[in-house]
């Protein structure tokens, strides 16, 4: 059996109780990591520990439990901000996830700063959460959204991008890694060019932060959005990094408890960063679990996580492309893409394929992946997608390949 050179997969797998589960009597082969990831014991235990030992509201109560909960919550903020290289924890706002983060920027920054006639630059490979908020802003403010196109191999047309930023856009919003093509964009360069053109930049890190080393201080982005559940953490929690100078100039968009300094009947003053953007009781357990997930990943080492996924990708690209009728989308070079593999198999519809694979215990995603503009560009209604994480093995790729061959056989290809 082939072994990963980057890390000991068997040891990692032992940390994930769900991987012992059988599905339709078969070993679970979980290849839907771009949708959400499985949770290691430490994250699960962290949640149980919080609820069974020190459950209390953060920032409000001075009793022991309250102080412990606040310390753990703020500790998680430090951990997560360090994980992505934010310069200070006050720049890290806890939100529900990536979608919530882009919408926070929409309401608290874009609605105030995007003016009639402005442009917002995004790309054809974005997830809907990095398209729809900007369409809504554009509609409300009389601005225009521009979509940078793609080369045949699924990489960004940088010349088109450079043309687009000549018009001094208000905002440039780009994903670091496509959840369909796997394409990794050079967001450091994109942000630099955006800034030179006077634009504010936002990077969708939903598929990058979980899978590769990310250092916001080097990327130079103004905003960076990511979700805990895609990096072994709980659902319902994520983070928005925002550059302090920008966050300071923004008004909160939700009013309530925690986000104020003083409230009088005549009005209120805003709390300090990041609390000004965290109205109401936060997802405290989620945040603590998020921190625990970030710690777990750091212990493995993000460079190892990335190297392991590149090994899997190389193996998958080589072996799956041999299956009859396979069309694989995105860059051919594993070094240029994240561990996401979208494909179509002869005339087997992705939903049929997903059902056939499910019966073999293999979980993949089928559909438009919340990226319909990209589906239009690919000229397909849907694709199948296998996406990897550190606990996936070469065996998982072999199982997928067998499943694909079985589907071919059933459909008579």
């Amino acid at each position: 059996m082939l072994k990963s050179e980057a890390l000991n997969v068997e040891k990692v797998r032992a940390d994930f109780p769900i991987l012992n589960r059988k599905v339709h009597g078969k070993r679970l082969v979980y290849l839907d990591n771009a949708a959400t990831t499985q949770k290691p014991n430490v994250v699960i235990d962290t949640l149980v520990d919080y609820y069974s030992r020190y459950n209390a509201n953060a920032h409000r109560s001075v009793h022991t439990l309250g102080e412990e909960a606040t310390a753990a919550f703020e500790g998680a903020r430090k951990t997560v901000s360090r994980f992505v290289g934010a310069s200070s924890p006050e720049e890290l706002i806890f939100v529900k996830g990536t979608t919530d983060a882009t919408n926070l920027v929409r309401f608290a920054w874009a609605e105030k700063n995007v003016k009639r006639g402005d442009t917002i630059v995004t790309t054809l490979m974005e997830h809907h959460s990095n398209i729809v908020p900007w369409q809504l802003v554009a509609k409300k403010k009389g601005a225009e959204v521009k979509y940078v196109g793609l080369n045949k191999d699924g990489t960004l047309k940088m010349d088109e991008f450079e043309d687009a930023i000549r018009e001094s856009p208000a905002l440039v919003a780009v994903t670091q890694c496509s959840n369909v093509l796997g394409t990794i964009n050079d967001v450091a360069r994109i942000c630099r060019l955006a800034h030179e053109a006077g634009a504010v930049s936002l990077v969708d890190g939903a598929q990058s932060a979980p899978h590769m080393p990310v250092d916001i201080s080097k990327l130079g982005t103004d905003f960076f959005a990511f979700s805990a559940h895609k990096m072994m953490g709980p659902t319902g929690i994520g983070a928005l990094y925002g550059r302090k100078s920008l966050l300071e100039g923004m008004d909160p968009f939700e009013g309530g408890g925690d986000m104020i300094k003083e409230v009088h009947t005549s009005g209120a003053t805003w709390n300090d960063l990041p609390y000004k953007f965290e109205a109401g009781t936060s997802n405290i357990a989620g945040a603590i679990g998020f921190g625990s997930a970030a710690n777990y990943l750091s212990e493995i080492g993000m460079d190892k996580v990335r190297r392991h996924e590149v090994e899997l990708l190389e193996y998958a690209l080589e072996n799956l492309s041999k299956v009859k009728g396979m069309t694989i989308y995105g860059p051919e070079d594993a070094d240029q893409r994240g561990g996401v593999l979208s494909f179509n198999l002869s005339d087997v519809h992705p939903h049929d394929l997903a059902t056939i694979l499910d019966e073999r215990g293999i979980a993949i995603r089928s559909g438009h992946h919340c990226a319909q503009p990209l589906m239009e560009w690919l000229e397909v209604p849907a694709t199948s997608r296998a996406s990897f994480y550190v606990y996936n093995s070469f065996d998982d790729v072999d199982s997928l390949k067998e499943g694909l061959e079985k589907a071919n056989e059933m459909f008579g290809a």
Partner: protein, 137 residues
Amino acid sequence: MSSAEIYKEIILDYYRHPRNYGKLEKTDGSARETNPLCGDDVEIQFSVADGKFGEIRYSGKGCAISQASTSMLTELAKGKQVEWVKELSKEDVFKMLGNPELGPARVKCALLGMKALKVAAYGYLGSKFEENNGSDS
């Protein structure tokens, strides 16, 4: 449950060899239904003779389950009274497909054709009703 149980030979057969696929020049009723989740898309068209389905065709694209069940439905409907769709039930469709063990996500695929047929047939029956009663109401 194995694949063979969901993908009954009959489903695969109709998917590979669609019956009544295409479009009609003249129609008395038609409807199109889509399932955005899957991208399934079917259109049913028919003509009516003596209150019965005459020519009936479907077109579209999508997964094997949606396409096969629509194709089979057109065969089932042909020659029957248009009124018959009122009795047509989910269970009839499942039975026609060989009672595969479909999860909730795939049930929608199986029933897409039935939805299109019902919408088309009710549209036809409604317009007939108006023709017969509309002028003096």
